[in-house]
């Protein structure tokens, strides 16, 4: 493929397969994919891998998912009842972290309890020794020295307390050491001050983290891109319904009304490929319970799946997804969680692709409501 500069890039092929290709390029890519077995194979390989991943069994421990609603309810209740207005804004994870820390401290205390007196003695003695050293240094080097030591002759004023003569270099060294010690003390004080400030800093960090998390959540809420004007949506969707997520979201934002406007995909005629496939099995353009025989649908399913998997369903994607949901439903029995998710996913995509006010969207939504878990 690398030797063939005319092949679209992987990004383009995948965007096309995912229904995310920009309208201007979509027709070009589609034409290429239709005529290029290499690109089709590449798309098929990826589609198969992803289908396999979706088929993979859940890894949740037995009973975990079933009990999750109780756990979540308890956490929400705990967060709501135990927190004041300020705390309510905090992430529950932080509460848990804090709980974990307390628990860890608690555990640590229990574990360390037998050694605690020794630790206390050692730390007290160390602290006392440090204080003594500092005091001695201050006394020796500070103004107190003059008060407590006998005043020697002027010449001997720089002699050490021991009375032994000291060379100027040694005296300088001693002063230097004292300075160093003083700096050390100051440094220690600074360290202590910093340590005392640490909880404050941590609180600031947590507040900052909360603020960021809050902003992230708000951004998630606003993550839907600004919608394009409706006229433009219809125009774009006519060219490529699946290519403009903005348009899809705009469509999703329109609440279904009693007399819904025609949906986006409803206005686009099925492609000849899709129409021919349906005609082969005697199926209507959009799934309709009254008109679709289960046998015909079961027979059509492999072809519908191939159409979807090959990534060339294009503007028929919503219709295809609705059919695939219904086909999967023929095999479904309540309790089959894997198939349940697959069917739900098909319906959700049908709603998203067709738009909730479209016929496809409305049918998919109604059918989804009746899907028994």
């Amino acid at each position: 493929m690398k030797n063939e500069p005319l092949h679209p890039s992987s990004e383009e092929l995948f965007a096309y397969r995912d229904g995310e290709m920009v309208p201007e390029k979509r027709a070009t890519i589609e034409a290429h994919v239709m005529g290029c077995s290499l690109c089709r194979t590449f798309i098929d390989q990826i589609s198969s891998l992803e289908a396999e991943l979706r088929q993979s069994p859940d890894r949740a421990p037995a009973g975990y998912l079933e009990g999750l609603d109780d756990v979540v309810r308890a956490r929400i209740a705990r967060a709501a009842s135990g927190a004041d207005a300020g705390k309510a804004e905090r992430s529950d994870a932080r509460e848990r972290r804090s709980e974990d820390r307390s628990a860890a401290r608690e555990r640590g205390r229990v574990k360390e309890a037998p050694g605690l007196p020794w630790a206390a003695v050692i730390s007290t003695v160390s602290a006392a020794a440090a204080v003594m050293v500092v005091v001695v240094i201050l006394i020796k080097q500070g103004p107190y020295q003059r008060l407590i030591t006998p005043q020697p002759p002027a010449k001997a004023s720089r002699a050490p307390a021991s009375g032994a003569p000291m060379k100027p270099e040694a005296a300088e060294k001693s002063e230097g050491k004292a300075k160093k010690d003083r700096e050390g003390v100051a440094g220690n004080e600074k360290g202590v001050a910093q340590l005392q400030k640490a909880p404050e800093a941590a609180a600031t960090d947590e507040a900052e983290r909360d603020r960021l998390q809050k902003r992230a959540d708000e951004a998630a809420l606003k993550s839907v891109p600004a919608p394009a004007p409706v006229g433009e949506i219809v125009k774009e969707e006519t060219a490529n319904r699946a290519a403009a997520p903005e348009a899809q979201f705009k469509a999703m934002e329109q609440k279904p009304s009693a007399a819904p406007a025609p949906g986006l995909e409803d206005e686009i005629a099925p492609t000849p490929r899709y129409a021919a496939l349906l005609a082969r099995y005697g199926l209507p353009p959009v799934w309709d319970g009254a008109q679709v025989s289960p046998e015909a649908l079961a027979n059509a399913e492999p072809d519908l799946r191939s159409l979807y998997m090959s990534g060339i369903a294009g503007s028929d994607s919503g219709r295809v997804r609705l059919y695939l949901a219904e086909a999967a439903r023929l095999r479904y029995t309540a309790g089959d969680s894997v198939l349940y998710e697959e069917i739900r996913r098909h319906y959700h995509r049908a709603i998203a692709l067709g738009g909730p006010s479209s016929r496809i969207g409305r049918v998919a939504e109604e059918r989804l409501r009746t899907l028994e878990r």
Partner: protein
């Protein structure tokens, strides 16, 4: 305790959200039931271990609950919620010093392995082997690639939602997803080729 809870399985997401906002906190259970499976799958794929995935899922529900007043009821709940899950999961793996993973053949929290589950699944042997290959290959990918694939495959999220979840432009989603898919394919092919060599 003995009070029977109303069956809300057929009530649309938007109505459930309104019920919760009106004070029927129990209605939130229904949203949890509807989304717990994809949420856990997504969190598990990104974090690669049950403990972190559990943390992420619970934390995400609490966040979603708190953010519910700002939720646009005209939207579907699941994609919105999965965006929160993805963010929490990514934040979790970034903040974790350890990178605890549970490989395919290592028991999870309940003592079973994914390999066991695949073996128990009602699938033909060929499909089982393919599943093992692809799960193993996915697990070997870097966090960034695994996360974007999980968002696409398990979350079924469109590019715009993935971009919002990862806080990157849509163009970057396209290129990152393409690299991740290529890497996945390469890893799967490596495993299949190795097996083929061993068997022949």
């Amino acid at each position: 305790m003995g009070e029977k809870k109303p069956d809300r399985s057929a009530v649309p997401d938007a109505e459930i959200v309104q019920l919760v906002l009106a004070g029927e906190i129990d209605a939130f259970d229904e949203l949890v039931r509807r989304t717990r499976r994809p949420a856990y799958r997504l969190a598990r794929r990104i974090t690669r271990n049950h403990e972190d995935a559990d943390d992420v899922v619970q934390e995400s529900y609490v966040k979603a609950y708190r953010a519910l007043p700002r939720f646009d009821s005209n939207r579907a709940f699941q994609p919105w919620f999965l965006t929160i899950v993805a963010r929490s999961a990514l934040s979790q793996i970034r903040s974790r010093a350890r990178r605890a993973t549970v490989p395919l053949d290592e028991p999870g929290a309940d003592g079973t392995t994914l390999a066991d589950r695949i073996a128990e699944a009602p699938l033909d042997p060929g499909t089982r082997q393919r599943l093992r290959d692809v799960e193993d290959a996915l697990s070997s990918l870097p966090d960034e690639q695994r996360a974007i694939l999980a968002l696409r495959v398990d979350g079924d999220l469109p590019y715009a939602e993935i971009a919002a979840a990862l806080e990157i432009p849509v163009g970057t989603v396209m290129s990152r997803l393409a690299r991740a898919r290529e890497a996945l394919l390469e890893e799967v092919e490596k495993r299949r080729a190795a097996r083929f060599r061993r068997s022949s």
